[in-house]
Amino acid sequence: MLNFKNKILILSTFIFTALLFCTGCNSSSEASIQEKNAEKAAPTPASFLALGEFSVEYLEDGYVKVRDGAKREFLLVPRGKPPLEGFPKSRIVETPVRSVAAYGYFDISILKVLGVIEDVLVGVTAPKDEWVIPEVVQGMESGKIAFLGSYNSIDFEVLKKTGPEMAMTWDHSVIPILEDLGIPCLITSTPVAMCLNAKMKFVNFLAPFFGKETEASEYFGQVAGVLQEIAEKAAQAEEHPKVMWGDIYEKRVLVEPGNAWVGELVGLAMGDYVFDDVFGASCIEISMERFLTGGEDAEILFTYRTPLTGATSKEALAKTNPSMSAIQPLHAGKVFAPLPHYSQSGHKLDEILLEIAAIVHPDLYPNYERKYFTELPEKDA
């Protein structure tokens, strides 16, 4: 017969066995070292920044742990200090970083915000004639910044010669090659589109690499101020125009999903984003039917194409794909195309946000002069 003590014994045995199982499994795991170190050095919550899918965790003694767009953790080590245990060599970056190779326009624009572009940028993946950022053009002219080849044909000899201490890219496939070259590779894109908050705070993600947290905070404050202004002004709006952002290509229909920063911004500016229910990556593919249904009563269309890539007029746009002429913005609404320098203007995010708000509600921004988008005429001149 089991008495009370025996019941306790059964219970204790059960709990002990469960714990033993867990502990046993844990001790056999070589992988727990990194976790233990991370936990030992855990920061106070105030020193942790979640920036969309990126994160920055300030540890003691100037060490920083960051998580990139591929969910990989890097340890930023102040120069002269030993690295903490548990991080592979390819994930240890000495700070401040002195030289960088970068793929993305937005990443490079953020280097400009941080005031380090002239000092650190040594390699890019677009030729000189595609650049409008003066520092990059000058750097390429002087030979300080090298053209590494396009994203799918990087010249790794040149890359090695330029000797970057770190590379920033969206292309996961170069990670093993760069790691073989001893260059830590930071993924700066995420599988899900950046929300407005992440877009604005991305500067805080790159800041600790260069010790430029103050500059990042100032920039964020500036953009947040403009956003506040947009929200306050939009509160006066009586109409909520329907806005769509996307394009139809030969076989594919691509749009910005509702979770992307542009979708959120349109909502904040009291517009009605027609792809609000679409969730996923930036430039996400949707069905033609969904695009056309959304465009039936939309008033404003933002295209991906620039005037250089075919968006010269509504008529020209309709010619690229006859189905597109069915959407309202092409015959009774407005169509805006980004100007070629738009994609390299990430450092002017505040101006871009303001301009989009001014396009959504032109009545609230009288006399606003556009810098980043152009309204397409009905026909080519």
Partner: protein, 276 residues
């Protein structure tokens, strides 16, 4: 001290506690549904961070949207204790009266619901073990024929082939030539030279020495279009919780089989005549 333990034991054995716990769990999970939807990105790192690391960073930083999760864990723990105590009490009662039962079969059949209860606790313990102790390597990128070491292990994986199946149906023009499935052929090797070839696909992990290897991404994804280097992106998990919840599930199935027998006329005949 004994009196205090007895008091706690009786409190934990209360059916009222079960009811309160279950109600609170439903409310908590309901609130959680809306809070997760409001900020999905806060919870996504739980897929690859340990529960403790997540709690110290994402969890505490966003406490306004994560509080329900911590409460849920506490309620689950309480429910587990409640189930454990209630079940142990019942098992104890059956065991005490085993000699009054007509046969051993009757004893086993009477224990069947309690086996399932214990199993559920084991399954939950397995999940907790996973959340706390699993190690996940995200974005392990493999290029063809380049052995790549899995972080914090001595195991290397080589991509020996990447087979993509493209859409050829012709009914949906946008999908023409687009990859709709992919399988990576992998060669595993440990420090002792032991090797294994296996295939990992979407929703079809490969396993080697306690590692489960899941295909997370690959390129190229279409014929033509954006030119991409061939690669496979893997997520590798070393999860000590798996054997625990497999054991729990096996035990649950066993309990369920006994229980199904117990409610058949055959089972009822075997149990009849035993203690009430």
């Amino acid at each position: 001290m004994d009196a205090l333990i007895k008091k706690i034991w009786h409190a934990l054995a209360s059916v009222r506690l079960t009811f309160v716990c279950m109600t609170c769990l439903c409310v908590c999970a309901g609130i959680g549904y809306f809070l997760i939807r409001s900020q999905v990105h806060v919870f996504k790192p739980l897929q690859d961070l340990s529960l403790i690391s997540w709690a110290k960073t994402w969890g505490l930083t966003h406490i306004s949207v994560t509080w329900w999760f911590f409460l849920l864990l506490a309620l689950l723990a309480l429910l587990c204790l409640n189930t454990l105590v209630c079940t142990t009490d019942r098992v104890n009662a059956i065991w005490r009266n085993r000699k009054r039962l007509p046969s051993r079969t009757s004893l086993v059949l009477r224990l069947s619901p309690h086996i399932m209860h214990y199993s559920l606790i084991i399954i939950l313990a397995g999940y907790l073990t996973s959340y706390i102790f699993a190690n996940t390597v995200t974005s392990l990128i493999l290029l063809p024929d380049r052995p790549t070491r899995v972080e914090n292990t001595s195991i290397t994986i080589t991509l020996t082939g990447l087979q993509t199946r493209t859409y050829q149906g012709k009914r949906m023009a946008p999908f023409d030539g687009r990859a709709i499935n992919a399988t990576a052929s992998l060669l595993f090797e440990d420090s002792k030279g032991r090797t294994k070839t296996a295939q990992a696909g979407i929703n079809r992990p490969a396993r080697f020495q306690g590692l489960s290897v899941h295909m997370a991404e690959f390129a190229p994804r279409s014929e033509g279009g954006m030119v991409r280097r061939k690669y496979a992106g893997l997520t590798v998990r070393q999860d000590p919780g798996i054997p625990i919840y497999y054991a729990g599930m096996a035990l649950f199935v066993l309990g369920l089989i006994f229980y199904v027998f117990s409610i058949t006329p055959w089972g009822e005949r075997h149990m009849r005549g035993s203690y009430a």
